[in-house]
Amino acid sequence: MSGNSNNHRGTADRLAFASAALRSMWRRAEGKFALIVLALWLAIALVSLIWTPQSLWATDGYHVWAAPSAAHWLGTDGTGADVFSWLMAGSRTNLLIVLLTVIVSAVWGLLLIAAMVTRNSALANTSVVVIDALISIPTVLIALILAVPLGASVAVIVIACGFGYGLNLARVARPAALLASRSAYVESALANGASGWQVLVSHIIPNIVPVLAVQLSLSAGTAVLAESGLTYLGIGVPSGVPSWGHSLATSVKLINVFPLTVLWPGLMVTVVVVALNVFGDVLRDAIDPVANPALRQTVVAAEKEDER
């Protein structure tokens, strides 16, 4: 180890770790699919902020439900607006919803996990019972109740899904978290003076990341589906705000007459949900130092480069 390279060791190590994990994901066919779809999604969402082929509000009463053409790549909807432009703009709403839902459910789920694995057995037992009770409330019902004060809004989807998926996350991750919290390495960390909070953040959570990655990516996929469902019910994304659920909801009424218009948003949702689920699986395999030898090799390679 050369002296001056050590100053940046932490950041350099983390970068090497991330790039090795990404490369391992890319090496697998399903990993390529997931990464390409998610990268396209992000790119389209960003582009839609400044440019869409047609204005969202350019309606045309003479060309409603038009078939795909040079002017309207995916045809037009019931108001004559361009379907492609609406889907492009919708991707940013869905991206926002997915990101917020994942953050909310991760924070909420980890708090519950912390309560369930604490050394205080009264709190641990109570939280298990409370979670089992809360998990029986359907997410749709929570969304319907939230819609009373909030109206149709993105917040309804994010809070309802974040709450429900956080409970799921906590329940699914509990066995792994419990195993980690009772492990000899946690005992060792405690014997070295770590506090309960430090043990949770630096020892338990890093060891349950595989479960978290899979469960959170499932939640992300389900959030896309929930957005469509709740928007269809009229309590999700408000009308006038573009989203895939909005595109589905406005076109699905005439599915027997113009099936093609429904196909595009449906396809979009399906491909993205599959990509998110696959992403979780591939991510889990890629970030585990025990399962993925590439992670160990990069550390050594980075070390060798330092020495040069």
């Binding site: 205080n120 003076g193 160990r296 050594v300």
Partner: protein, 268 residues
Amino acid sequence: MSVTVEGLSVVIADKPIVSGIDLNIADGERVGLIGSSGSGKSMISKAMLGLLPLNASVSGSVALGETQVIGAPERELAALRGSYVGTVFQNPAASLNPVMTVAQQIGLPLKLHYDLTTTERAERVAAMLGKVGLAEETANKYPHELSGGQQQRVGIATALITSPRFIIADEPTTALDSITQRQIVDLLTALVDDAGASMLFITHDFSVLARATTRCYVLESGRIVDSGATAEVLADPKTSESKRLVSAARILTLHSADLRNIKEDSHE
């Protein structure tokens, strides 16, 4: 640091685990605690660290130097653990965090107790790796890439990196083969003596005990049944329990001595 335990009793769910333990370790002394499985050895080490299960009721006194452990606030105990008291664990494969590199693992007590820069920490870890006989490249490895003996060397390095005044070694050799056991015991005692620290060496193995300690206590069903200089306890156990333990150990060691003779004969 001298350690004094007086009348220590631990009861969990109405079941007495250890009772009336009196034990003292002078400054710089290596003391053994031996007993069969389930005799309460590990509970005593947990009580010394203040890490007993929350449903355990404790009475008596455990004094680490000037500090009374029983009833001390958690913050005070956390400051003690890892800085004044180092712990070496039984199963090195399980007591190292699988997603932390060796450097992160050894640097953990430093990170928790001292305000060092990354460079300073890396330097101390590198120096410690040398002391426990591991190559510098080991720093970037994960625990599962190491052998059992190497893993326990990492465990010892973690326990000693902050130069604690008292080391608790809770069956540090049990998970290792007999040759590695001897190397680990020798390494641990040498490092502890160099640092001038005191050590409590917990084991159920008399041959390891003789190598690691000068004085020992024999624990049976949560009570101390015998104590004295390790050599004397081994040569002349006073109570029936310690006689049983020693004779069991003697059969095993005689066995291995016989085997050694056979091996040496065949070499000649």
